[in-house]
């Protein structure tokens, strides 16, 4: 069963259409990379699926649960709150700017949602959090506050925070864009490890080499539509699409400079 089924998804801000007729599936254990120029709608796509933005049309199914029940006067009617909540808990989201809670310690950042959303006991939540911190190589930072950590460390905490809810799929919204190249590497390493463990992931990224390495499936978006998709070999290797070629060429040139 597909973890995620997106069909004909569209999104407009007033008259500006940012997503047009987007359809794709994500299977269990699959890693999907979404690439494309800035403003192509990649982040909006993730945000629509995660209910941070309201879709204007189409359907989204997460683990068989429908996010949109039906249509009324051409506008989507969202499913009841308890279904939406269940969907939300199946998706973990890692932001570009981490968005850690600055007033909470690293440990509290990770245990907060399991305790107040899943009603786990403090002991259980802390045990899980410590295992995750260990995995992220941050065991010694449990008592620190986000402001005392480097960007890379903060992003690793936010990955642990998302994993603590045991989601079916993890979304990354440009997880390394706020980091310098040196710190980018440590995040990419963590994501690669998660991929090895068969964590289902959807990654919006500008790191082409990384997308090529880690993804099972690559989606290239431009102007709110999926221009091309396929295996990394198809998209990066011998794309037949002019627009994709042009985009990738620019990246390659940037790397040569």
């Amino acid at each position: 069963m597909a973890i995620l089924e997106v069909r004909n998804l569209s999104k407009s801000f007033d008259k500006l259409e940012v997503l047009k007729d987007i359809s794709f599936d994500v299977e269990k254990g699959e890693v999907v990379a979404i690439i494309g120029p800035s403003g192509s709608g990649k982040s909006t796509l993730l945000r629509c699926i995660n209910q941070l933005e309201k879709a204007s049309g189409g359907s989204v199914k997460v683990c068989g649960l429908d996010m949109i029940e039906g249509y009324k006067n051409g506008k989507p009617v969202y499913s009841p709150a308890d279904v939406l909540r269940e969907i939300r808990l199946k998706i973990g989201l890692v932001f570009q700017n981490f968005n850690l809670f600055p007033h909470m310690s690293v440990l509290k950042n990770i245990t907060e949602a399991p305790m107040c959303v899943l009603k786990k006991s403090k002991q259980e939540a802390e045990e899980t959090a410590k295992v995750l911190l260990e995995k992220m190589g941050l065991a010694s930072k449990a008592g620190s506050y986000p402001c005392e950590l480097s960007g890379g460390q903060q992003q690793r905490v936010s990955i642990a925070r998302a994993l603590a809810l045991n989601p079916e799929v993890l979304f990354f919204d440009e997880p390394t864009s706020a980091l310098d190249p040196e710190l980018t590497g440590e995040i990419l390493k963590v994501i690669k490890e998660l991929a090895k463990e068969k964590m289902t992931m959807v990654i919006v990224t500008h790191e082409m080499a990384f997308a090529r390495d880690v993804a099972d499936h690559v989606i290239f978006m431009d102007g709110g539509v999926i221009v091309e998709e396929g295996t990394p070999e198809q998209v990066f290797g011998d794309t037949k699409n002019e627009r994709t070629k042009q985009f990738l060429q620019r990246y390659n040139n940037d790397f040569k400079d």
Partner: protein, 232 residues
Amino acid sequence: MTWEEILQCTEVIARYLIPTLKIFGFTLLFSIPLGMVVALLKMCKFKPVSWLINVYILIMRGTPLMLQIITIYYAIPMMKVSDSAFLQNLFAGVDIKSESYQFNALIVAFALNYAAYFAEIFRGGIESIPKGQYEAAAALGMTKGQTFFRVVLPQVIKRIVPASSNEVITLVKDTSLASVIAYAEIFRKAKEQMVSYSNLTPLFIAGIFYFIMNAILTTVFAAVEKKLDYYK
């Protein structure tokens, strides 16, 4: 004034420290929660509500507190002598000369006035919290209530401490406005002593009382700020 007179005078003024502190304490007790409600209403998306709140804040901040105290204090006596039998009956039981009526009128005036100022401080604090914090909480499945009380409010408190301390310190001094309706507190008593001794020293003594209260508050707020300094 002799030292003995100064001592005696200090003792008289000190006895009225309690009424001053009562105005101070009750005003904070009511104006802080009220200010929070006003702030949330002002951010309400339903326009008539936020418009009404704007008018309220405009009046409270745009006119003197002394004027507001007098207006509220005399509102009921005015209604008692009005032509309307209904209003006369409604307030028939109110004894406007009683100390409790004086005090209640004062607290209503002070709380309404200070709530307007606190509301603006709270609103500024709430609006300064980045959108990403709400989004992170939402993505983690937290409810709106959990997001506000566990994520937003603690950060708002840290941000509003400096501005709030300003208000609280001003309030200590503003309690002296209660003397305008003859409520017996530090300032009123000091003025009486000043007249009877024909000497400014009693006012100076009252000044020292206000100064000490605010010195203590300043220390307390500095400690609170320091305590909240564990994160940036």
